[in-house]
Subunit: 211 residues, 2 copies
């Protein structure tokens, strides 16, 4: 390994800490950066520092944001009767990319997982219940993962929202009860049934709809 100068070795080492970047790829990237124009290399470095400095969590939905409120929360044209609950910012990105949802989000920052010491107080559930109890909110769509933790979190949220909603109903006389929904699970589009696991098939059968 001592056939490169120190400063190249250092960059190779620090690039290797990135996910999916092994020694060989890090070496290739470092040599590319070495031969790239100075402004290109500088912009990568400054963008990394800027990212770490600027990005924080949206004060309302806890999405990633440069400002106090994220792009979605600072958009007044979205439907404030809908809250979509997701585990992580990247889940929110996937839903936004699809363009099918026009409400607001709530990012939990994880899922309940007692084995990892993540209980209801470790993720942003209280904040969700407070938001959901506001008068405008008509529906909470639970879009946590479909793994064990995601399912458990979904059940926990549904149970507690019903409880909160009952209290709120008696105090604030909401017109209708809060609708609590879960995103559908089933066979993915473009999927061949042959490759779909049994639990998914079971869900797809249970969730079947009239044609």
């Amino acid at each position: 390994m001592n056939y490169y100068p120190e400063s190249i070795l250092k960059l190779i080492k620090s690039l290797s800490t990135l996910p999916g970047i092994g020694r060989k790829t890090a070496e290739r990237l470092a040599l590319h950066i070495l031969h790239a124009p100075l402004h290109e290399a500088q912009s990568i470095a400054s963008d990394i520092l800027e990212l770490k400095q600027k990005v924080r969590l949206c004060a309302k939905c806890f999405a990633l944001s440069d400002k106090e409120y994220c792009r979605v929360c600072s958009n007044p044209n979205r439907d404030d009767s809908l809250i979509c609950v997701v585990e992580n910012p990247s889940d929110m990105a996937v839903i936004e990319k699809s363009g099918v949802f026009n409400g607001y989000y709530h990012i939990l920052g994880g899922a309940l997982s007692p084995i990892d010491g993540i209980g209801p107080d470790e993720i942003r559930l209280k904040e969700l219940f407070i938001r959901a109890s506001s008068k405008e909110v008509k529906e909470v769509i639970i879009a946590t993962g479909t793994d064990v933790e995601g399912e458990a979190t979904a059940s926990y949220i549904a149970d507690n929202l019903r409880f909160y909603d009952n209290i709120e109903l008696s105090n604030k006389s909401k017109q209708n009860g809060l609708i609590i929904s879960r995103i559908a699970s089933g066979v993915p589009m473009g999927g061949d049934l042959q490759y779909v696991d049994q639990v998914t098939i079971q869900r797809a059968m249970e969730g079947r709809r009239g044609f």
Copy 2:
């Protein structure tokens, strides 16, 4: 694309300029950097800047170096009767990694390629001929690539070294004529003959040795 804050989008964009890093990978890397400890992110950024600032070419062999002379050239324990000529610093790295060569290097910085406008003056041939004409040098091993450009460069070097060597011989009375050699080409080790191309087989037959 507008579901991430500006500073994340900027980093994704600049990471996408790296070779082999597409949009998806850049997104994953940016999110990793976002969640990584501050010092890790800072060290990537500072290593990039340090690399661009410090790395230059060795004054003797034109390898990558932090100082005036590279690690190899500043090592007095190597055999100064051997010069190995390669196209690029990464070729030198491969030979160093193998550990079979104990002489010094000469990095041309490319290969002759008239179609791309790269003639003898565009690569460091003159510097090689000057180094090779020194009294200590007994053998020049030409390890340019085995593609058309690499082969042409090898022939050019061999022809010109012989010419220079004759002049030097008459002036400085070198003990023996300069040995000019070319790395062997043939079937790669661990290779199945079935998958080896015809030109390589031809070379392997021509270059056969007594057992």
